[in-house]
Subunit: 643 residues, 2 copies
Amino acid sequence: MTISPTGEALRKALDGPFHDLKQRWRDEVPAESMIRDTALGMEEARDWTLDHLIPLARSGFATAGFPAAQGGTGNTADSVANFEMMAMGDLSLTIKSGVQHGLFGGAIVNLGTAWHHETFLPGAMSVELPGCFAMTELGHGSDVQSIETSITWDPETSEFVVHSPSPSATKAYIGNAARDGRMAAVFGQLWVNGEHQGIHVALVPIRDETGHPLPGVTTGDHGHKGGLLGIDNGTLSFEHVRVPREMLLDRFGGVNEAGEYESPIKSKNARFFTMLGTLVRGRICVGGGASSATRKALTISVNYANRRRQFRQPGLGEEIRLLDYLTHQRRLLPNVATAYAFGFAQNQLALELQRVTDAGGADAHAARALETFAAGMKAAQTRWANDTIQECREACGGAGYMSDNAITLLRQDADIFATFEGDNTVLLQLVAKALLLNYKTSWGEMDMRGTAQKTARLIGGTVLERTTARSLIDRLVASANRKPESQKLRARGWQIQMFEFRESHVVEGLAQRMRAASKAEDGFEAVNRCQPHMLEAARAHIDRVVLEDFVEAIDGCADDYIKALLVKVCDLYALSTIEANRAWYLEHEAFDPRRSKSITATVDELCGELRPRSKELVEGLGVPEAWMRHPRTAVPPLAGAAG
Amino acid sequence: MTISPTGEALRKALDGPFHDLKQRWRDEVPAESMIRDTALGMEEARDWTLDHLIPLARSGFATAGFPAAQGGTGNTADSVANFEMMAMGDLSLTIKSGVQHGLFGGAIVNLGTAWHHETFLPGAMSVELPGCFAMTELGHGSDVQSIETSITWDPETSEFVVHSPSPSATKAYIGNAARDGRMAAVFGQLWVNGEHQGIHVALVPIRDETGHPLPGVTTGDHGHKGGLLGIDNGTLSFEHVRVPREMLLDRFGGVNEAGEYESPIKSKNARFFTMLGTLVRGRICVGGGASSATRKALTISVNYANRRRQFRQPGLGEEIRLLDYLTHQRRLLPNVATAYAFGFAQNQLALELQRVTDAGGADAHAARALETFAAGMKAAQTRWANDTIQECREACGGAGYMSDNAITLLRQDADIFATFEGDNTVLLQLVAKALLLNYKTSWGEMDMRGTAQKTARLIGGTVLERTTARSLIDRLVASANRKPESQKLRARGWQIQMFEFRESHVVEGLAQRMRAASKAEDGFEAVNRCQPHMLEAARAHIDRVVLEDFVEAIDGCADDYIKALLVKVCDLYALSTIEANRAWYLEHEAFDPRRSKSITATVDELCGELRPRSKELVEGLGVPEAWMRHPRTAVPPLAGAAG
């Protein structure tokens, strides 16, 4: 199978700075290394996953993010790109690597110091030391700060005592815990000489070389799950388990040789958020991985819709291709456009992660902005993934439900992405809180000026932070303002103004509501009633930043033909997003009913215009052709959706 | 576990005329008979399903719909109710029964005559004769009329020759085909003495007693699927397979002893639709089954949200129950209200099926109306099921992804309900076509009057057909019109007017567009552009009828307390449906932005008002307590969402 020159060029544009790295996967990793037999039972799937992770790790496809001293490249953006590619193959494999290299390895890299790196990273990288990331407990998932596991300093023996004081303190849903893990990075409340120092992480050996739990460690197996059968999620609990002083990951706080607690960060709260902040890569990976899975499902279903025919055109006698039906275009093509939008934004996010990592904590503002955008992109992409993969399944009809079609496995495996590395609803509230904080700051600064001017300024750059291409945006807006009404809808500047208006207006409204709520008698209920507005503010923010990243990517595109195609794809993304939110726009009189209907008509038109390029557009999504299909089927090739 | 008196009373109200039948399931069928180990592989799941179907069939839990002469009760509405109950246990079991009793058995009952009944029904009922319903082909699913399999009369031997002329004529996705089936009801184009008579059905033995395919029959196995692992879907193709004359199911057409084609229905087209019409029960079952699965998922997730706490209330120190968060209420409670709405409408649908069946074809108008509403309810309930079960999974967080939680299996098994027994997009277009036909009829009748009056009359009863409670509706509308603006939102009559306005306006608009399209040069493209409007018209119609059925059920409720509770549930259903469509209402200026926002606020309020009754409301959904959980888990009980 060869891909078209247009598909190739789109692929290059969407890969962006990661093109060479991603192309290496496509060139070097065959389907046998990546495609799991969908009929494997739980135990077989676990075997397959471990067996396939090891060679990938040894060939350097999963260890980019580790320090050069241990044989990595120290390039954390590349580790995100690797994760995204792996997710186009198999999500169990991807999450196994995510647990091993990203979370367990990442905790050692980011929270540990030189001795931990030298001692444990080689095994973490090669998978000779399979590890767990033991944060979540049965009683506390989203609310990490309330976990119950204790890590208590014993000055007598110079050891830490790791303990689960109650059944709800049991570490739960932990990958590698049920079977493969030998060591765990255990999150717990640190107590030193009777003083509480907040959450810290200790490395705790959990199994011996033969795989038996060590004394004091109880492991459990969550058994069968809704997907990710290759991951051995399980439970861990600790009965006064002792580890030497060195086993505490002490970059941000530990006990010195004199037996005293020491930390470069004074506030317990700041320490907690600094530690958690180093985990931001996990969220970026999960969001990107969800998008990868969705790209694969979209490619399969668009290819199917270009091939499959049903019902005859009256008179003509020829049967009609599914993708010639407007409703079918509507189901798939705006999602293809969204795949491009998220792809460009995800590239920016990975680069920003690299910049923040390189700054090594020097730019706290950038670090906070990164965390906010990472949380939002994780929630947005995983929500979209669940909805879209399901749409792709249904768009392939019965063929979409056969496992050899590959979509069903994606559907099952990607499902939990909405939950792990931060529940989406919780993450969106984090984003909203950050937006409110920005708003408050700018509000304070500008409190002396008139309201109208304030609003303009807010749109102009204060609340609406993180616009890497401000001058470009301003130019587009100015150009749109000069256009006649009839041409506004496809004017990028008008679309941007709509996105900005929605964000700034929702954030302002939220700020007012929250201010009122802070004075209410029943504080919880008052804030509770603002919750839907918080989610709305977060979504509006993400939508706007994603659009701006798309605009910047188009601006940087050298090939005129590809650029013109991406302009239409961006129109479809922007207008279908505005269409999806048109109730809000009408409620806030951003446009009238007539314009609202013409937006819908323009989305229809754009679907028709892009339909002839649908094959090339999905080629551009960059899924290796050979990975698209699960080869086990007993039926003739026609039944397979991807044949 | 006992359920509350309120839960009990709600359950009785929602069961309606099927309460005794449904209660028998709850009282007599233990979890062991219904709950599959979620970790079973494909072959084990197939064994489990067949093994568990047989005793259920023998105890009369699956054979209500068969004629009394063969030991059934001849009550087809009861067979729908049985299907709905089974779907609260296991969907593979349900679909196995659906294939065996509903489709294979149903084809014999409805398309066959006395000899077929006597000869084959006993085996079909007891599952001693496992059978297939071989309609869909690889090349043609939704477009049944274009299937290629031929059934050709051979006057020399007085046999029919069943043949698959091409690979795309292979029967595909057929339940019981891969493994268990011994006979198939094969749909094919009938040719008698060189003349094409349209689609007919022949019974064709496919395997011998040892399970080997018979000469000329090729069987295939679709293998692993996205769910319903207990169903052995496979392919069938025929190489000039001969069956005796009697094997044609000849109620609507066959070859007599003289070798001539005979049919009580002259038009080939009418014959096709009459035959297909007898299959309406399958669609009614699938829609009801999807709702049953969703009720189970809602019960599990509401119970979890009433138990699970996360994050502390500032100051108070107590951790907050998930269901106390407004966003969590928003995710679940409007869906609980919809479960009630669909439940009442589904009861009406089953009763109407019984009436049409009893009329034996005498009321063609009622039969057509039933087919339309069945198609719409199938599409609406299965769409809602996929969306809602996913929402329930996510609302249970990590616990929702563990298979012992039961939701993941529901998610996987219910998925395909959107596709089989008619792809939802195709079904909605059927509904729209029926609405247009009604509209055309009434338009013709009223073409002499003014437009304003026409519209009023159309709402009054002509386009908006099938209102079983017209006088009640008129009374509610009149009462709402007398209320002050501030009380309108919760006035049932106002809600009804909104639903009616949407339906009549969308149908009228569609009719105008279709009239214009019929004159367009490129007929296909012109009609194609109307497709989204067709889907919209169908959805608006279903919404309105479902609301009216809810209104009627409340009217018939004897218990004042339950009635008052159902009034709120109905408010929540009606207003959250209007809210979901508020973009449309604003575009058509049915209300202004201010009212639109107050609808959202009222939905929030209703969630708060119903939240204290959430436990009782899900008890009312009628899922047997013992069937709610899959008992295999290696972790402490806290992890299970339904513990």
